[in-house]
Symmetry: C2
Subunit: 175 residues, 2 copies
């Protein structure tokens, strides 16, 4: 499996059940989301703007995607505080067959533009590692059928290497 195949398999609308584990406090968080993953043209204005902004002239990237989500968590007392939504554009640059970098418009752990390194394992699990200012996020995604994918992630502190949170999502394609 190449990164193009991975994104191709991921296109569509997904219902996601995600559990967060705060290890230090033994606290569970439950998040239900709808996620929509769509491919973008290479000359989409949002893609070109991202490349311009980073002064990237290398045009040998694979098909970009936009991930849009709407989430509801059980974390805060007030329902309104638990609803969030957002989107992120991903542009994949291949280094070798199984490794490369992804330029993302919005980071996951910290809301900044970030580079993600990816690595595809022999069993088609895709590992994403993103370095932010304070934290490192590691995400591993694998398909258990063509319509169900799993996503396990962890966020750790760069300074102390302490693991701040792990989380796990089961995602089912709805269209």
């Amino acid at each position: 499996m190449l990164i193009e195949d991975f994104f191709l398999k991921s296109l569509g609308k997904w219902n996601s059940m995600r559990s967060g584990h705060s290890l230090a406090f033994k606290e569970f968080e439950e998040i239900v989301s709808q996620i929509k993953i769509t491919s973008l043209e290479k000359w989409d204005i949002r893609v070109l703007e991202m490349l311009n902004h980073r002064k990237i002239t290398n045009k040998s990237f694979s098909t970009p995607v936009i991930i849009e989500w709407e989430s509801e968590s059980n974390w805060e007392d007030s329902k309104a505080d638990n609803i969030s939504s957002g989107s992120s554009i991903l542009i994949p640059f291949t280094s070798t067959t199984k490794t490369g970098k992804i330029l993302r418009s919005t980071g996951y752990a910290e809301n900044i533009k970030a580079y993600t390194e990816y690595n595809i394992l022999e069993n088609d699990t895709v590992i994403f590692i993103t370095r932010y200012n304070q934290t490192i996020a590691e995400e591993r995604i694998w398909f258990i059928s063509s319509n169900v994918r799993c996503r396990a992630s962890l966020i750790k502190s760069i300074n102390t290497s302490a693991i701040l949170q792990t989380s796990y999502a089961s995602e089912i394609r709805i269209s």
Copy 2:
């Protein structure tokens, strides 16, 4: 990493936070457990009985372990119904450096004696696949530090291949 190394790294007491996702009903389950993993002598009476019972004369297995757990779930209304405990003995038989079979005294998805096939990936993730009468359980375990391990599992129906449940545990060593 060999299977012996994996079990050696797993010895000790662990606090586990586990989330179960029932995909069809979008229901979350939260389970808090204490898990104790101890190595056994190859000539431990419980190990010998398991081998005798299955008429296994092949003595070229690695160090067996016993896993003991006490769990509390939030699933049932009554607290008493949510508390469970148990133990399972695992005897690993190596086939190649990275693959083999594990004889277990109690299955995970169905409470019967079972054989588990294991496979160790290039990034040291260990995959266990167990076939029961009605279901197949796939478990993948990886260490994110020497004191934190993650465990993602799924149970699917043999007849329909439908995915019945996925679950994810974050486990922290406490001694």
